[in-house]
Symmetry: C2
Subunit: 180 residues, 2 copies
């Protein structure tokens, strides 16, 4: 007989290269250490597995976010924590997911775009600035920041470890995870 | 702190109208009664939510099953029981899901096609026989029955309650659910 754990959805949103996946990975490890099963739902990974036909138009991006939301809700109902890392540039799509789950913890992973252009580990900004990629969020496609996220983090001003510590204490405040 | 429950995937396969969804619904209720969280993954429902662009060609059917399998594996990892009801006509697609999860309980929901044609609650067989639907499993599209399913049930010979009782005792044998 299992005791039903409280599920939750931790949603990292922000520009490409802002640090969403890094934070999602660290968070998942930390959650597991605390006995909370975490399922990472990475935007690109879900796209590959569930939405290979979708592109990057606003409608296709929204549809991809809707599907991630569908899966995240399922993970939450199972009493686990869905840890989502997805650019998810549009506010309405994120808010629709928020309404469809019980406990939505939206974390805006923020970093000035000039820092991102300088970091650019995958060379995506360079390609987008050279015109090889179009519809790139933050350059020629919009990013709508959350208006009242559960947490706003600046990855250019704090280390990943510092950010994770802040996220954990916010999750504890929200009752999403047990205090250690 | 949650105790991690053992997850599993219960997969009902069989022709349209054979009773998969009915059994999946009854099974989910029974599992919840035993304290095992069940997530129903209905072929048509998942198709609507995750695969609206897919049709009924063999490749599209297989892709839909692959996506259901992806979600079922996730539910299993969360320690819950994925209860899948999907025609899933092709053996290779079902076997690929089997390989991708820890505990796969395949239940062949069997019923002679003449009985299904007579039942036909949704009028689908009638439409298919009239040529209004093509690629209909069991008529002009193949159904490949499982070669060694964990359970084979005949819905024309036993009541749903009898079938559910047999499934539960098989699940207990397999260690997939606790004995009451």
């Amino acid at each position: 007989m299992q005791r039903r754990a409280k599920g939750s959805v931790i949603w990292f949103t922000g520009l490409s290269g802002s640090g969403k996946s890094t934070l999602a990975g660290l968070m998942s490890e930390e959650l597991e250490r605390r006995g909370v099963h975490a399922e990472r739902l990475d935007g690109d990974e879900i796209r590959k597995n569930l939405s290979p036909e979708l592109g990057f138009s606003p409608a296709d991006r929204d549809e991809n976010i809707r599907r991630i939301g569908f899966v995240a809700a399922l993970v939450e109902r199972c009493g686990a924590c869905a840890v989502v890392a997805a650019i998810s540039p549009y506010r309405t799509a994120r808010d629709a997911v928020r309404r469809s789950v019980q406990r939505f913890v939206e974390i805006h992973v923020d970093c000035p775009i000039d820092v991102l252009k300088a970091r650019d580990p995958k060379g995506l900004y360079k390609r987008a600035l050279a015109g090889e990629l179009t519809g790139f969020t933050g350059l020629d496609a919009p990013y709508e920041p959350p208006l009242s996220p559960e947490l706003h983090v600046r990855t250019d001003l704090e280390t990943p470890a510092q950010t994770v510590a802040r996220i954990l204490s916010r999750l504890e405040e929200l009752g999403a995870i047990p205090r250690p």
